[in-house]
């Protein structure tokens, strides 16, 4: 059995998005409860959350943006950049705790204290652009972690796999010119789903051309279509790229019971995706897989989805 780290902090619940917002504290409570009831918490190594050292955030986000986020949030503004991004006074600090926790998980993997990790954080990150909050995301946790691994641990090639039902525009744009970070995303086709990017022809630019890969999926698709596209698009790409660490943007909103989009992936479908990722992790990255929560809004499905996800991290060979 693997030593799997689990990042969770009750303070992540303090990021208050107001009534009726789908990206709500109950999501994390459901995940925590799911792991507890499945008897998995005892098998996991707890990862303490930490305030992030802002020098790492600054490798990804523009200083003006960070300052604006801090000032507007602490000044009591309820939204940042768009009505979607609801804030409370704690949001800025919680976003720092989320990014800092993910970096701590990365550090523990690199030091060998754990083999892999699941980070149940909020706010999520993959829509956050260099200088703009988008789609409930403020700091791009996964992007910050990728740069941290490269800078602090001389990791040359980081592979990011994003299976949230929405395209991770922020992560893609941040690394689209960078051949050292491969960004792969599978998501509902952008003509039907937020944020309207992630088409097949988006393949990176300049030096980074060929190091971005998108698999848009038509609405109503299920496990077999995800499996077909992952085998066709992701497996050969990572075989050629040979990532030294894999970071997962784990969103569970492609589930058939999630109303956010129109996908019909089953709980078993998510397990297949994660087992496939772990197989690549073992093959190329010495088992170093860092999974970070993005979306997933079906509160009654999140417990089983999180438990299934963590079991695969624990059982990976």
């Amino acid at each position: 059995m693997k030593r799997t780290g689990f990042l969770y902090d009750p303070r992540y619940l303090l990021h208050d998005t107001g009534p009726y917002h789908p990206e709500r504290a109950e999501r994390l409570e459901a995940i925590h409860k799911g792991l507890q009831e499945a008897g998995l918490l005892g098998q996991l190594t707890r990862i303490p959350s930490r305030m992030v050292d802002m020098k790492w955030v600054e490798t990804i986000h523009a200083p003006e943006y960070i300052r604006r986020f801090e000032e507007l949030c602490l000044g009591g503004r309820r939204t940042l950049d768009c009505e979607d991004n609801q804030m409370c006074r704690d949001t800025y600090e919680i976003a720092q705790l989320a990014a800092g926790g993910v970096l701590e998980a990365a550090r523990m993997i690199m030091s060998g204290e754990i083999d892999n990790a699941f980070c149940a954080v909020r706010p999520p990150g993959h829509h956050a652009e260099r200088g703009e909050a988008m789609g409930f995301c403020y700091f791009n946790n996964v992007a910050i972690a990728a740069r941290y691994l490269q800078t602090a641990y001389q990791i040359e090639r980081v592979g990011i796999i994003d299976f949230d039902v929405h395209h991770g525009n922020g992560t893609q744009h941040i690394f689209e010119q960078d051949p050292t970070v491969f960004y792969y995303s599978i998501h509902q086709h952008p003509s039907f789903a937020y944020p309207g990017t992630g088409r097949e022809f988006e393949m990176g630019s300049g030096q980074g051309y060929g190091f971005t890969k998108n698999s848009p999926v038509l609405p109503g698709s299920s496990d077999d279509e995800y499996q077909r596209l992952i085998e066709k698009d992701l497996l050969p790409a990572f075989k050629a790229f040979v990532p030294q660490v894999i970071i997962v943007s784990a969103g569970f909103d492609a589930h058939k019971d999630d109303d956010m989009a129109d996908m019909r992936v089953t709980t078993e479908g998510f397990a297949w995706i994660m087992r496939t990722i772990m197989m690549m992790g073992e093959q190329y990255a010495d088992g170093r897989v860092l999974s970070v929560l993005e979306g997933g809004y079906a509160l009654d499905r999140l417990p089983e989805l999180a438990a299934g996800h963590v079991r695969i991290l624990l059982d990976s060979k």
């Binding site: 009726y20 917002h21 789908p22 768009c82 009505e83 979607d84 829509h127 988008m134 789609g135 409930f136 929405h166 525009n169 003509s191 039907f192 789903a193 937020y194 944020p195 309207g196 990017t197 038509l218 609405p219 109503g220 109303d259 956010m260 129109d262 809004y297």
Partner: protein, 225 residues
């Protein structure tokens, strides 16, 4: 939505006397395919395209790969002999819709835009129209497409728009299209948000049917009503 708002204003032009090879180089260097031909007072006299030039020259010349002495043989050719005189034009007062329909009808890649005196004001190409259309659809901005099936009767669209507005969601665009059941319409609001769970439920509670986007194919629609 007038042509004048979407056209290219800084137009690269030639005169009738411009050598053909010069026009060819101008297109290659500026990465364009259409050059309006104007008189000294900027009155439009014609248009010359990369296709006109290609068909006027032998293959190697057309590809710009011919040796210098070969090129000299064609140096006397001028734009006047190969341009289209009296080309299809639009005026600054025409709309984008006019230009879209005309471009389909005339099968050309660009129109010179002229004023009432026939003087050149700009050029509008397929590329400019596409950009304008992307703008109209709102798809340059992040958002989510909803597909709603409604009864074909007055007031339905208002109910949808009101419901969405109450949720304080901004619109990128709203398209209304025919549906294969004669008394129904398909409405496609493009909403500038990621947060659609509540509005979807609200619309369903109001009695609207949310369409599976995959069930709506343009080619299944009746050709006419």
């Amino acid at each position: 939505m007038f042509v004048s708002q979407s056209m290219t204003r800084k137009v690269i032009t030639v005169s009738k006397e411009t050598p053909l090879l010069e026009a060819q180089a101008l297109m290659a260097n500026s990465n364009i395919r259409h050059l309006p031909v104007v008189a000294a007072d900027n009155r439009l006299e014609g248009i010359i395209t990369d296709r006109d030039i290609r068909s006027a020259l032998p293959y190697d010349m057309a590809r710009g790969r011919a040796p210098e002495e070969e090129r000299r043989k064609y140096a006397h050719l001028t734009v006047a002999e190969f341009m289209t005189t009296a080309p299809a034009t639009v005026t600054v007062f025409d709309t984008l819709q006019d230009a879209l329909l005309l471009i389909q009808e005339k099968r050309v890649g660009a129109f010179p835009v002229i004023d009432a005196d026939g003087k050149l004001k700009g050029i509008i190409s397929v590329r400019d129209l596409l950009r304008a259309f992307i703008n109209v659809l709102g798809i340059g901005e992040p958002g989510t497409l909803l597909c709603i099936l409604v009864e074909n009767k007055v007031g339905q669209l208002k109910r949808i728009v009101d419901a969405i507005t109450e949720e304080r969601i901004s619109f990128g665009s709203v398209l209304v299209a025919r549906y294969w059941e004669k008394d129904k319409r398909a409405v496609f609001p493009y909403l500038l948000t990621n947060n659609v769970i509540r509005i979807k439920k609200k619309l369903q509670d109001m009695g609207f049917t949310l369409l599976d986007p995959m069930q709506w194919y343009l080619d299944q629609l009746p050709k006419s009503e």
